[in-house]
């Protein structure tokens, strides 16, 4: 084997005018991939519409969501003056769906977002450090896991007292454990890679390695898992409200409305199913949007 001077030959090779083209930047590529995904765009449109509707509720309807007319109870969909009918207390369903979106979206998004931040921090830390740190954190998580989620939420809410903030705290606590588990498993898979060893060799601290090398690589599974929890959180929040531990009636909230209309399912099934339809729509849109975002951010796509 002869030793050619690799440096000069390489320089000559690239100097010939065929320098490698710069690929499009990360953000450009991600945006292009996102805009080419119709499912994702559709989900984004549905979610934007839901959020806009609940924010603009006072402009879209003239009814008061809390006041009904005893003479106009359980009107069917399309009844004059009530596009989506009325509920068991004669309140306009459209109005209550619009206003209820506010509470439901807050109750669904906030706990999942908070739990994702906390759970990812705990999971990645224990996955990275292992040993006793992992033992302490993950066994504590297992304790939370041992209770059925709803039961735990009820217990926490009951001890904190009713109200939206306490409801959010309770839901946050129950979703930390599953997210931490996903984060830990993903971190453990990443942490044995040679690029983590390389980062250690460069003298970077643990927190720096987790922030710069680990998080970007465990983002996908956590993000997709967490987005699936949004719908679940809305329903669980509804259960709490139903038990008087969440939002108090007559404040409209989809989950509570679903429960309240249960009795009317034989008389007026379509109206009774409406809040459930909106919960489903929100949940599935979040899932699809999350899938699309993950795919478009994935450099390997």
């Amino acid at each position: 084997m002869t030793i050619a001077n690799p440096v000069s030959s390489a320089a000559a090779r690239w100097a010939a005018g065929d320098a490698p083209a710069r690929p499009e930047s990360y953000l450009q590529a991600s945006r292009r991939r996102f805009l080419h995904n119709r499912v994702g765009l559709g989900a984004l449109a549905v979610l934007s519409a839901l959020i806009a509707m609940s924010l603009l509720a006072p402009l879209l309807t003239s009814y008061d969501p809390a006041i009904g007319a005893a003479t106009a109870r359980l009107r069917p969909i399309g009844a004059p003056g009530h596009l989506l009918g009325t509920d068991e207390q004669g309140r306009d369903m459209l109005t209550r769906i619009l206003y209820g979106g506010r509470m439901s979206l807050i109750a669904g998004l906030t706990p999942v977002a908070l739990a994702t931040v906390i759970g990812t921090a705990l999971g990645s830390l224990s996955g990275f450090l292992g040993r006793w740190v992992a033992a302490v954190i993950m066994r504590t998580m297992d304790m939370f896991y041992a209770f059925p989620a709803v039961l735990l939420a009820i217990a926490i809410s009951a001890s904190l007292g009713p109200g939206l903030v306490n409801q959010i705290i309770a839901l946050t606590i129950i979703y930390i454990a599953p997210i931490a588990r996903v984060a830990e498993a993903a971190t453990r898979r990443i942490v044995v890679s040679e690029f983590i060893e390389a980062a250690r060799l460069s003298g970077a601290s643990t927190s720096r390695i987790i922030l710069t090398q680990v998080l970007a690589n465990i983002f996908s599974p956590i993000f997709v898992y967490a987005s699936g929890l949004v719908g679940l959180a809305i329903v669980t929040a509804a259960s709490l409200s139903f038990l008087g531990l969440g939002v108090r009636p007559p404040t409209p909230e989809w989950g509570f409305m679903l429960n309240a209309l249960r009795g009317a399912i034989y008389m007026n099934p379509w109206v009774a199913a409406l809040p459930g339809l909106f919960i489903f729509l929100t949940s599935i849109s979040f899932n699809m949007l999350a899938d699309t975002i993950r795919d478009s951010l994935d450099v390997r796509e």
Partner: protein
């Protein structure tokens, strides 16, 4: 190119002392890993046992051996990715034995460690798939407080040094070939201008033609930047091409250490002979083709054979091999071998390894 290299090369933080001949001295380094054998039973795998060798400044030390013989563990012990159980590592005259894990390095340790870097084996898992090549190469510089401008300039310079183009900085690892990724791997190892670069099976995952390119690149860089290499491979031909001296490892122990030429001309240890005999040689006969090829599997490192660890597969096995671990002898100057076949040091040898060790009388 040379003037440019001076312009962008930052000063090394630890002043080199060119007077010292050995950049690295590995002294009786051992590493054991605990393993669970049962619900309550614990055992130890002796991954590296009493490994010693010196690396001369600006030279290349090759380490060869079968897979599972502790080569990669040795590499990680040297650079400090794993804590050492016993022994010392003297780098540039300073003992850098790392009792602590690398993820909490002190400031002086951090400064020292940047002088030892590593080129990793797997071109896929050694680069962060979510980071661009530019981010990968500049990360060590960022950690050590280089300015943005310095990082950008030095990244372009490094990319050119390893035969890539500055534009490659905006590529992602998955957009590059295995050979290109390994060049990025090398560029990252050189980012902090280290003195010692440990290449752990750096070309094993590459095609033969790409291997040759990367080996030539490493040699060129060594010449240009005055690097010292530890080159780990299971491929004897690759090690012969790269190395000035070679250390042959078997089951965590060094069985033979000497200059590369002597090793291939006059292998002394039965294991080395068997290894050389099993190497395919193109258009000729192997150096030690009369030696029968190795039979059997590598014994379990959980319970290594008593005495000489190679005795279970050695064609020249004697009674003493099961009783005593063979001391390191120098049958010729600079040629260290741990085998009972060689009971005497050459008279010309300065007593370094021989001193303090019991002389065992063996009837051959």
């Amino acid at each position: 190119m040379v003037t440019e290299s001076i312009a962008t090369e930052p000063q090394p933080p630890v002043p080199a002392s060119p007077g010292r001949r050995n950049l690295l001295e590995v002294v009786k380094v051992s590493k054991r890993f605990p393993v669970r054998l049962g619900p309550l039973k614990r055992g130890y795998v002796s991954a590296v046992d009493s490994l010693s060798f010196d690396v001369v400044r600006g030279s290349t030390m090759g380490i060869v051996g079968e897979s599972g013989c502790g080569k990669s563990t040795a590499a990680r012990l040297i650079v400090g990715l794993l804590p050492i159980d016993e022994g010392d590592i003297i780098f540039d005259g300073a003992n850098v034995r790392a009792p602590r894990q690398l993820h909490r390095p002190g400031p002086s340790e951090k400064a020292l460690r940047r002088n030892m870097q590593m080129v990793f084996q797997d071109p896929h898992s050694s680069l962060n798939p979510r980071a661009s090549v530019g981010e990968i190469i500049s990360f060590p510089m960022k950690v050590h407080g280089f300015t943005k401008e310095q990082q950008r300039e030095r990244t372009s310079w490094l990319l050119e040094q390893v035969g890539l183009h500055a534009n490659h900085a905006s590529y992602y690892p998955h957009q590059m070939s295995g050979g290109q990724r390994q060049r990025v791997n090398i560029a990252r190892a050189l980012a902090l201008s280290p003195q010692l670069v440990v290449c752990d099976e750096a070309v094993s995952a590459l095609d033969k033609s790409v291997q040759a390119q990367v080996l030539n690149l490493l040699k060129g860089l060594q010449e240009e930047l005055g690097l010292t290499f530890i080159f780990i491979s299971h491929d004897l031909n690759v090690v012969q091409f790269m190395s000035d001296s070679v250390c042959v490892m078997y089951l965590g122990q060094a069985v033979e250490t000497c200059g590369a030429d002597r090793l291939y001309e006059n292998p002394l240890h039965p294991y080395t002979r068997a290894l050389l005999a099993s190497t395919p040689v193109l258009g000729g006969v192997g150096v030690a083709s009369d030696v029968p090829p190795l039979e059997g599997e590598l014994p379990s490192p959980l319970s290594p054979p008593s005495g000489c660890r190679f005795r279970t597969r050695c064609p020249f096995v004697m009674d003493i091999c099961a009783e005593e671990a063979p001391p390191v002898r120098q049958p010729e100057p600079g040629h260290h071998v741990a085998c009972h076949l060689y009971a005497e040091d050459s008279p010309a040898v300065a007593p370094r390894y021989a001193s303090g060790l019991p002389v065992i009388e063996v009837s051959r």
